[in-house]
């Protein structure tokens, strides 16, 4: 099912970007949650933007490197000149992509939970007239919801990486989509924050997969986030499946 040497190869080829982005995410997380000045912006800035942007960039670059770039450069020939099935190759690359993304969320989650245990943040939602003291359980669920939404972006990029033989198309289309999702997510957020004149921006939420990540619903103890998480999970499995199927069947110029 999986190839351990290939997994090692993928780690060697991709750990630098993972480490850099995970470090930035962890720093931001600790800073926002620990400093009194920024605690109020923890959810709007860190969970509202950072947990989508940084992993988004990571999956966009990494998904391309895991398949399309290696086919384009020809280095995939070495993997496939060993008795490693194409199915084993995609399974291993998916394991790396999703596993590393999970770890990218797990570290800041643990850090946030640790900081939160010392000085818990009170989340206030003006519109809903609710204040809520954030618990470790909330933090885990919020991160889980964000992780699955990012996994869907990863799935989309991986699907493109499996479909295209040329790196420029895989990263071009994948990158454009990820950037669009992130921007549309921000516009939608401005739509909910600002005055009535820009509420039309709210409709951008229907154009981006990032709105499947719903920290407000979790913190306000509603259940809307659950079907959203399920939808993101289904989308992730579907896109990963399509990318794998195409990669296993297509002609490879190696």
């Amino acid at each position: 099912m999986f190839s351990l040497p290939l997994l090692k190869q993928s780690i060697k080829a991709n750990w630098v970007l993972w480490a850099a982005l995970t470090a930035v995410m962890s720093l931001l997380c600790v800073q926002f949650s620990a400093m009194k000045m920024t605690q109020g912006m923890m959810f709007e800035i860190y969970y509202g933007m950072m947990v989508v942007i940084l992993p988004g960039v990571y999956v966009m670059v990494t998904a391309n490197k895991l398949l399309a770039s290696q086919v384009d450069r020809g280095s995939m020939a070495y993997v496939l000149s060993t008795p490693t099935r194409r199915g084993t190759v995609v399974a291993t690359q998916i394991l790396y992509l999703i596993g590393s993304l999970l770890l990218m969320f797990a570290i800041p989650t643990a850090l946030h939970a640790a900081v939160n245990a010392g000085s818990p943040i009170t989340y206030a939602d003006a519109a809903a007239h609710v204040t809520h003291v954030v618990t470790a359980g909330d933090i885990v669920l919020v991160n889980l919801s964000a992780f699955v939404a990012c996994a869907l972006m990863g799935g989309i990029c991986f699907m493109l990486s499996g479909i295209f033989n040329l790196s420029k198309y895989a990263i071009g289309v994948g990158g454009a989509l990820v950037m669009f999702f992130i921007l549309a997510g921000m516009l939608a957020m401005f739509g909910t924050m600002g005055g009535s004149s820009i509420t039309f921006l709210k409709s951008f939420q229907y154009l981006t997969v990032t709105s499947l990540f719903d920290y407000k619903s979790i913190l306000l103890s509603t259940t809307v986030w659950l079907p959203k998480l399920a939808a993101a999970a289904v989308g992730t499995v579907a896109t990963l499946g399509i990318g794998s199927a195409v990669f296993c069947k297509k002609d490879l110029p190696l």
Binding site: S3, L4, K12, A77, L80, S81
Partner: protein, 341 residues
């Protein structure tokens, strides 16, 4: 965690001398005349076959089909009892591949690449790998990205040969190698052959095919044009004669008039600029040949070695490309190719 499905031991076990690689009516149409069209050939177990052709002739596409990277439009590529495409993973246990375009995974140094490669191939004994590294004089501690073209090629060769596979598919393996390293490569291929390996290699360098190959396959625009066996291009040098006539008149007269030995069927080249006729003569008819020449003013007679390159440039290319400067086809060499094949 490595997937290990043992193939039936008989999957590629054929007796020496029987066909191990069978390509049958293989067609892959990329449009605009590119691709492979109805390519059929066989490589016997233990045989070394070369593939020659201009750029775009279909050498690499043939290799990629045998590696199972491409799906044929029609026809089949089989190795032993297995289909190159459907049973690709099983076959890789027996195949060593040197790709035409060499680029390595992004894993740092040559050492870590070869280690990972050996692990993926399930290779436990690295003695032969280390021996090859020594012989090809590779500094494997260098970062892969900093390696020169020749160094990368040598790394690729080591990766392809290190498992001592039964089948070698080498796509222009000597690209970027200096003459010394080319000799080392030829040695390594001969070693593999001595060990019973079956080799299919493509090349632009006729010399290296001559040194290693039992049979050479000529591809042109995706079709098999001809096959030449070793006995053909290793023909006794005395059998080839280049007769240079004193002037154009005698040259033209010689071509026009019938002769006992040097008929159009034996003429493999005729050059009006140098007034030279090149002919392929059967042994033991030298006296008849000289009597044929009586009555013509001959400037010189040479017997050049009939090389594979000559076969390609003088015999095949004019036929295939419709070059009209060579009036005669060359059934002589082709007959002997058939006879030996």
């Amino acid at each position: 965690m490595i997937e290990f499905v043992a193939p039936p031991a008989s999957a590629i076990a054929t007796r020496p001398g029987t066909d191990l690689i069978r390509v049958d009516h293989l067609t892959k149409d990329y449009g605009r005349g590119r691709g492979l069209f109805d390519v059929t050939f066989q490589v016997k177990r233990g045989e070394v076959m070369g593939i020659v052709g201009t750029n775009g002739a279909g050498k690499t596409t043939t290799m990629r089909h045998l590696m199972g990277f491409l799906k044929p439009d029609s026809g089949t590529a089989r190795i032993g009892a297995l289909d190159a495409r459907l049973d690709a993973a099983e076959l890789k246990r027996h195949i060593g591949y040197v790709p035409g375009e060499i680029d390595f995974p992004d894993v740092g140094t040559g050492t870590s690449f070869l280690r990972l490669q050996a692990a993926m191939a399930g290779l436990d004994h690295l003695d032969y790998m280390n021996q090859l590294i020594d012989r090809f004089k590779i500094d494997i501690t260098a970062p892969l990205r900093r390696m020169s073209k020749g160094m990368k090629q040598k790394m690729g060769i080591v990766a392809g040969l290190m498992a001592k596979p039964q089948i070698l598919l080498l796509d222009e393996p000597s690209t970027g190698l200096d003459p010394l390293m080319r000799d080392t490569l030829v040695e390594a291929i001969e070693e593999a052959k001595a060990g019973g390996a079956t080799v299919l290699m493509s090349s632009h360098v006729f010399k290296e095919l001559e040194d290693t190959c039992d049979t050479v396959l000529f591809l042109q625009a995706g079709r098999v044009v001809s096959a030449a066996s070793r006995s053909m291009f290793e023909a006794n040098p005395r059998e080839m004669f280049a007769i240079r006539f004193a002037d154009d008149a005698d040259y033209r007269r010689f071509i026009a008039e019938p002769h006992r030995v040097v008929g159009p069927d034996r003429t493999v080249g005729a050059d009006p600029v140098t007034h030279t006729v090149t002919a392929y003569l059967p042994e033991g008819r030298i006296n008849e040949f000289f009597s044929d020449l009586q009555g013509y003013r001959v400037a010189s007679i040479q017997n050049p070695r009939f090389t594979l390159e000559q076969f390609f440039t003088k015999v095949l290319s004019p036929q295939v490309l419709g070059d009209t400067t060579t009036p005669a086809a060359a059934p002589g060499p082709r007959q002997s190719a058939k006879a030996a094949a």
